[in-house]
Symmetry: D2
Subunit: 319 residues, 4 copies
Amino acid sequence: MRKIGVLTSGGDAPGMNAAIRAVVRKAIFHGLEVAGIKRGYTGLISGDIVPMDLGSVGDIIHRGGTILQTARCDEFRSEAGQDKAVAKIKEHGIDGLVVIGGDGSFRGARILSDKGIPTIGIPGTIDNDIPCTDYTIGFDTAVNTVVEAVDKIRDTATSHERTYVIEVMGRNAGDIALLAGVACGAENVLVPEAKYDIAAIVEKLKRGAARGKKHSLILVAEGAGKGFAIGEVIRELTGWDTRVTVLGHIQRGGSPTAFDRMLASKMGAKAVDLLIEGDQAKMIGVQGGKVTATDINEALCTPRSPDMTLYELAGVLSI
Amino acid sequence: MRKIGVLTSGGDAPGMNAAIRAVVRKAIFHGLEVAGIKRGYTGLISGDIVPMDLGSVGDIIHRGGTILQTARCDEFRSEAGQDKAVAKIKEHGIDGLVVIGGDGSFRGARILSDKGIPTIGIPGTIDNDIPCTDYTIGFDTAVNTVVEAVDKIRDTATSHERTYVIEVMGRNAGDIALLAGVACGAENVLVPEAKYDIAAIVEKLKRGAARGKKHSLILVAEGAGKGFAIGEVIRELTGWDTRVTVLGHIQRGGSPTAFDRMLASKMGAKAVDLLIEGDQAKMIGVQGGKVTATDINEALCTPRSPDMTLYELAGVLSI
Amino acid sequence: MRKIGVLTSGGDAPGMNAAIRAVVRKAIFHGLEVAGIKRGYTGLISGDIVPMDLGSVGDIIHRGGTILQTARCDEFRSEAGQDKAVAKIKEHGIDGLVVIGGDGSFRGARILSDKGIPTIGIPGTIDNDIPCTDYTIGFDTAVNTVVEAVDKIRDTATSHERTYVIEVMGRNAGDIALLAGVACGAENVLVPEAKYDIAAIVEKLKRGAARGKKHSLILVAEGAGKGFAIGEVIRELTGWDTRVTVLGHIQRGGSPTAFDRMLASKMGAKAVDLLIEGDQAKMIGVQGGKVTATDINEALCTPRSPDMTLYELAGVLSI
Amino acid sequence: MRKIGVLTSGGDAPGMNAAIRAVVRKAIFHGLEVAGIKRGYTGLISGDIVPMDLGSVGDIIHRGGTILQTARCDEFRSEAGQDKAVAKIKEHGIDGLVVIGGDGSFRGARILSDKGIPTIGIPGTIDNDIPCTDYTIGFDTAVNTVVEAVDKIRDTATSHERTYVIEVMGRNAGDIALLAGVACGAENVLVPEAKYDIAAIVEKLKRGAARGKKHSLILVAEGAGKGFAIGEVIRELTGWDTRVTVLGHIQRGGSPTAFDRMLASKMGAKAVDLLIEGDQAKMIGVQGGKVTATDINEALCTPRSPDMTLYELAGVLSI
């Protein structure tokens, strides 16, 4: 192993820059060269590859987004595209690769490993929808962004005694909604992993109102339904002034939290260690507080769900 | 003047609590009693009125929303409702009233003054759509909330080289969009006070992209059009991945900025001064850095628009 | 178990309110009554005890500090004081107690359990200096507060090409300095758990400067030395303009992060579960991602230190 | 006027980057070239001068500090140094200069104008200690940074019922302390522009405590005294647990507020307009809401003080 490459792929997530920095610095610490690949697999195929030194990752640990940028790459789905990528990797003398991204990115990492390029995946996505890791890079920041937004909406909800429905990101996973829901004391949290009954939700809202609650907050994971549709139903069933906010792309940005910077730093360092040890086709995770490495095949096949005891807890604490 | 009442009305705005605090403390400083009226004109009609002392406004200066709450009141639109309000005011021994809110609230203030209750209006709304004042309470906070949100979206826009359309509040006024647009360096700002040409906007976006700009941000005031519709047009004309975010109710909340707390403190104190001096039917403003008092009739008839030199400046600085 | 009491003791920490809320709501969910004890053991001795219902913990989950307040209590160190406390507990019909605080508070919890009052401890302190738990309530918020402050100092450090020494809290523990140091990419982190050599630190600073680094940040845990003294030494050895900031009490405040609200919610609920099950003299922790209960005697005797692999990581990533 | 230069000098301030961006973009809009001078007058003398285009100020409007960096320059105090600077300016074909900084920087601007280089000053300093302008760039951000810090300290002050003394920046001016003091509802604000009587302050603190105030906050401008000394006196006179925090360098950093970005954008654009019109030796200000230009000589001779009616207001509202 003399030179490793690093790329970010899929949706961007806060903390990706901290992971890039860790990969670059750890590799240089061990005497390796580092190549930065721009725009994910797109730049890999087109050879948009630049050398990276200690200074090229200076002053980025606190920045959202990814300095290597990211893009969707249809061409890489074909074997022809994959072979082009392998050719570019060899052309640039890259002996091993670190891919930071979500499950789509990991499929690419497995393919490259199969084709003889040792590749390690680091889970970087706000959605926390990757098995074999308790947390993905960007998730903690996204949850805190949602919590801060809901805290602001709470001000206006209290002033007007209104019901607010807030739709948050997460693709098919309810993790963002669930953690933010507990953290904000939301009256109801709707996630794709659990069935919900609008009538029961309305019943609970009415009980709260009868008890004197000045506002009600309902968090909806995008995988569980459309905020506007749910708001409309609640409005009809209660006759209350019910407002809907779709939080949108602010959830992808922002300076990463300490937790995400730490997670990214540990994972980036571990990925370089694995490559140096001759390992490949692994996904880095953090499980039970320890940094782990799982076979990517296994990771891609393992079912996952958020900690559903939190779902019960959310219910108990918002009675 | 022995007892004054204070209420908040219309949409809530960050800094309303600082204004309430200033009214209460200034009045008590001058030996007056203060009555807090809950839920705006609704609580005035129903007599939901509580005594306020120094402690009842302790530890609220930094909180968003309004501890007196606010509500829309259809009954107050009728003369019967207005007479009930006057009766309640007299029943509670209230000699003068401070109304914190927007233009609808000021119409109520004028009516009460006409019916013999000296009433002073304080402009509290995030929209900055009140004539005869350079700033309304809550506007600076809302602009900063938008700026922070757009800064987050910028992270993800840069990472993906995307175009983002961001719809912000402001009712019929473009002030929030305009100031936030200049402050964020948005490529385009769409406000109801100026015509815009989507073709020219697209032309500018293409010029920027050709020059190597990694993202484009377009701020749309809700009075100027629907973000989703504008995003759709841009997507069609450019073929680019164009994303839309409607910032929504986070713009009404949050801890008020220093500017808004200061503005609210000055305005609240001034309103009490005017009542003590026997004045009425005035609206407090701040113009050219000075706290002013304008006849409410005049304020309600004066046309206003944001500082359109900013509109030109936004264009020049985002070339 | 029909009625439980809850108090906060020692230094306050963000998230204590979320823990109080969880204790109160979980207890009421199970049909128990709850008594809130003001000012820690001081209020326990004086009988400053109030009933708490669902509404008394409404709208507090996002607030820093503790609504029950906290105080140091010398009287409770004497057996006479402890007996007074037991008498008050019985007088108020309290069958079990939850104590939220640091190690001093836990010693009190053990004493009360020994005297027949089942008591459970929840670790609430920004310092993270409690054994048998990976995290204490308030630690994540404090680290993020430090990280945000250091990010601001970085702006001015870069502009002036200066060296900054930043002293942070933590009592005898280096955890805050260590995690914030990694998260900020500090060039050096000084913690009480590791010896440091100022000459080596200065050598590293000079290497960085030679390589073109525009600033250097040194984080000092208060247990490892005085920031001003260390700054003075660096100034002498380098001749550089070296500035020192002691972050101070901002580290104790602020709205708790999502992580701390979640941690506090889980721990509060668990404490009530234990009391209902007839348990006592336990300390709640979170270890390897799971909520745990450890005998308080064991917890008080177990040595602890931060994860020192982070210390090495900090060194590697800031080369 | 074919080419203008721009530099930042003195202490850095949030918003300086927005001012640089405005100067560069406005100049290019009018067909001028722009040279960026690094490290203030130091880089001017050494010729550390780089060409700036539209892209070189992209993505900086939201960043604290100054991309041009700043430094103190003793050499520029001598006529020899000044002549070197003039020679470098001519060597680089710079026809006019914009200097962003404080009063020291303006003295330099006057000297350069006297020596035939048309120079315009823009007030950039967090201290707001420049005459002939209501606000300097960075002041609003610094005040908000102080307000956010004090809001955090308030949490812990309330929890412990303690008195906190908080020392803030401002050099010889009390503006930061005064505005932040009003905005935080501080019980006392100590500024260099007004005498204070510690005995009266203590009297007020005791009155508040007797009335049930849970905390007291005292803001001290660094020009008015040392926080630690004042804390010590209060501790002696009251016997209370009195804590002191010196906020330090966080006050210089952070992403600029919308207000500062706007102010910087307007001032930067105006400076270029003046140079194009053939003007020189002027200082840009904002007075009564209008952008103004004042002769630098006049500005340097005009006495200034903060709005002392705020000082009275602070007293009235914190009774």
